[in-house]
Symmetry: C2
Subunit: 432 residues, 2 copies
């Protein structure tokens, strides 16, 4: 199923209207914003991102396709990520929720209010939609759904009768050296990654999914990301992280089907039998990485650059001139972050990163609680994040300045094919 | 001093370059962003905001002027607010820090790196600048400085010899009915409000001020705001808060010197003797208002509209058609928020609001820790926020859905006049 092009049907995202704007007096401002993005072709899920993705900031990203949007999609500016505990033991209730979620996700990513189609009007906003995104353009919202290991059973209990469908690749992540994980910020039965160019749109989406799921799911933890730290668009500059550096230059490009097929999408050959539902999907690792920025900020430029193996100003690998010049690994310290993480040091391993900077106020010691919410997609964590992190956790000079404080892994199913399909369908009803 | 126009000198903000971009290979993306905003006239501090403030998203807001920027300035998209404890008892050390802060603030709001002017180059980024905003445009960054009541002495100790200069208007806020204040999220000797259209720029600014202040100040609490909830630009739509409503339509307009003079800036006649340093300043009330959005979301549209006294879709006052139609208060319930807060119900009291929506993850009960970070500027809190909130706290129907959990008040001095002036100069050295 991998590398299958997204279905060539008129994407609902291609309409530039949001939330029946024309019926609204508040349309003036929003229409202006849509007009800016509306001329750009809507992006197709799992498909090539336009070189100037920023020009399409107000547009809609199609929800349906071979792969879920929000992975290969050109990285949006803002993130709201939520991990959910399923609080019901009722399989049918969960399935019914997933169907309802899917319908709501399709509406919200198209820029419509939840329940729009069903009840035919915004006057129905509450209880169908909470309303705080009314009048805002789609803002390239993507909603990406995943299932955690615990959904397949925990405490010896297989609540939903899907124990046998847990893919081998959906391992429990090992404990890495230096991990200091907060259980309250780790794990989760389900996850939804909301990315958008407007944080109000991303927050609105998570909040409405939580609202719809009331009594069946509860948010276990959530994370707001204020700034993207990676780019899946080859022409674009890599944004800077909270250490002031560009990192992840060798990221998988969202418009490179060959790399996506090799490193990101689960091929049918690796999703056999009971795990066939994951063909065309991907595996997501989420790590909350606290950065000790106060310590970092008192480190000299020279040392900072040595730690990364990069020039800070330009982002060029050590001894090179430009960010995208080929790295010369022997020019770097053996403990340099770039050297250790580089595909050439790891048998060609590459992952697709779309992490975000966060700052969540202040810890009890007057320090900003800030860092990187690391999100990486890969075909198999056992040959992706796990060996990479085993190495980094042991040797990376950066470890003096960071600490992993939250962790989760999710199986991210393939895309929702059409209006009849729903998140998790192939997992729960493989014959359908 | 109020209503004095901002000084007519070439604003350093008028240059479209940030952080000596041309010396940087990373300039391509940033220059594009600057080009988008660079054609707009730079805003002048305390002066009229252009009608289409959004067009100037990349531009610089001048730092110097009669009033501090970030009050009358057209509200930017994002906020990072920090309250600081002064950890030194050394008056000269504090003064020296305030001078250093002022210099850094002037540089950052102009789009330069900290230390740029002094050391002449970005290669000096650390330790002079942490670097994560390198290559980003000024993004209309404003840094607004205030001093809290505790700076004038606490626990009977006047650390800085300024006890007599505490203005009468800088009261300790009373306890309001329903308050459930977290001390760790309240108060502060100093505050800095960073607003920008790019959150990375706002976070960078606070972080660098904290870094510069290491050993003299420590962040007591901080708050990230992801979405503006108010507009100081008369033509613009009022953004929606987390309840999905527009609120604060009667906000003081940033381009209306008469209203600003009447409601926001402290007139010289009210800043006499030892408190003369506050002429042209303003008083800021910050309240962290948790919204119980899960409860709200299960409330019918009719009830929500009754609670606010507004139509949700359009934001029109009850019985009217458009947001800015004059409110007809008798059409609303006596407990309706708009009715209670309206100037006509409060002897004409108006405040300048520039609050932001926040979401800080999840509480221990699976609910989003979300709400409104309320920021209001006024000429005198005793005739502004205090009487308004006394009434709202007792009668507002909205109280069923909100709780005030953090509180602070600050005296915000007038603007920094020129490169020789500094934050707090008139407070610490009134004769200079």
């Amino acid at each position: 199923m991998d590398e299958t092009p997204a279905e060539e049907k008129p994407a609902e995202g291609s309409k530039p209207s949001r939330r029946k704007l024309l019926g609204w007096g508040g349309a003036g401002l929003a229409l202006g914003a849509v007009a800016a993005g509306g001329t750009a072709t809507a992006l197709r899920s799992g498909d090539a991102a336009p070189a100037d993705a920023d020009a399409a900031a107000g547009a809609a990203v199609p929800f349906h396709g071979a792969h879920q949007a929000g992975i290969a999609t050109a990285v949006q500016d803002r993130l709201h990520f939520a991990a959910f505990d399923v609080t019901t033991d009722d399989r049918e209730a969960l399935i019914s929720l997933l169907k309802e979620w899917t319908k709501a996700a399709a509406a919200m990513t198209a820029g419509d209010a939840v329940g729009d189609g069903a009840v035919g009007g915004l006057a129905e906003a509450p209880p169908d939609d909470t309303g705080e995104a009314l009048g805002l353009p789609p803002s390239r919202l993507t909603l990406t759904f995943g299932v955690g290991p615990t959904l397949f059973g925990k405490d010896g209990k297989d609540r939903f009768g899907i124990k046998d469908r847990r893919p081998d690749a959906l391992i429990d992540l090992p404990q890495f050296p230096g991990d200091n994980l907060d259980k309250a910020r780790s794990g989760g039965d389900l996850c939804v990654q909301a990315c958008a160019d407007d944080p109000q749109v991303a927050v609105h989406a998570i909040r409405n999914l939580a609202r719809i799921g009331f009594g069946k799911v509860a948010i276990r933890w959530s994370q707001l990301g204020f700034g993207k730290t990676s780019s899946t668009t080859p022409g674009a500059q890599t944004p800077r992280n909270m250490f002031g550096f560009k990192d992840g230059t060798e990221n998988v490009a969202g418009d490179d089907p060959k790399s996506l097929g090799k490193h990101v999408w689960v091929p049918a050959a690796e999703a056999k039998g009971d795990a066939a539902w994951m063909a065309g999907g991907s595996y997501l690792v989420a790590r909350r990485i606290r950065m000790h920025i106060e310590t970092w900020d008192r480190t000299s430029l020279k040392e900072q650059e040595d730690v990364f193996g990069r020039d800070k100003a330009e982002g060029a690998p050590a001894g090179r001139n430009h960010e995208r010049d080929a790295a010369h690994l022997p020019s770097m310290l053996p403990t340099a972050h770039v050297r250790l993480a580089h595909p050439d040091s790891n048998g060609g391993i590459r992952i697709l990163r779309r992490g975000y900077s966060f700052t969540d106020g202040t810890d009890g010691l007057g320090r900003l609680d800030a860092g990187l919410f690391f999100l990486a997609y890969q075909r198999d964590v056992r040959h992706g994040f796990v060996p990479l992190q085993q190495k980094l956790a042991r040797h990376d000079a950066l470890n003096e300045y960071i600490q992993h404080v939250g962790s989760a892994v999710f199986a991210v199913p393939p895309g929702v094919r059409d209006a009849a399909d729903w998140w998790g369908r192939a997992l729960f009803t493989p014959s359908a």
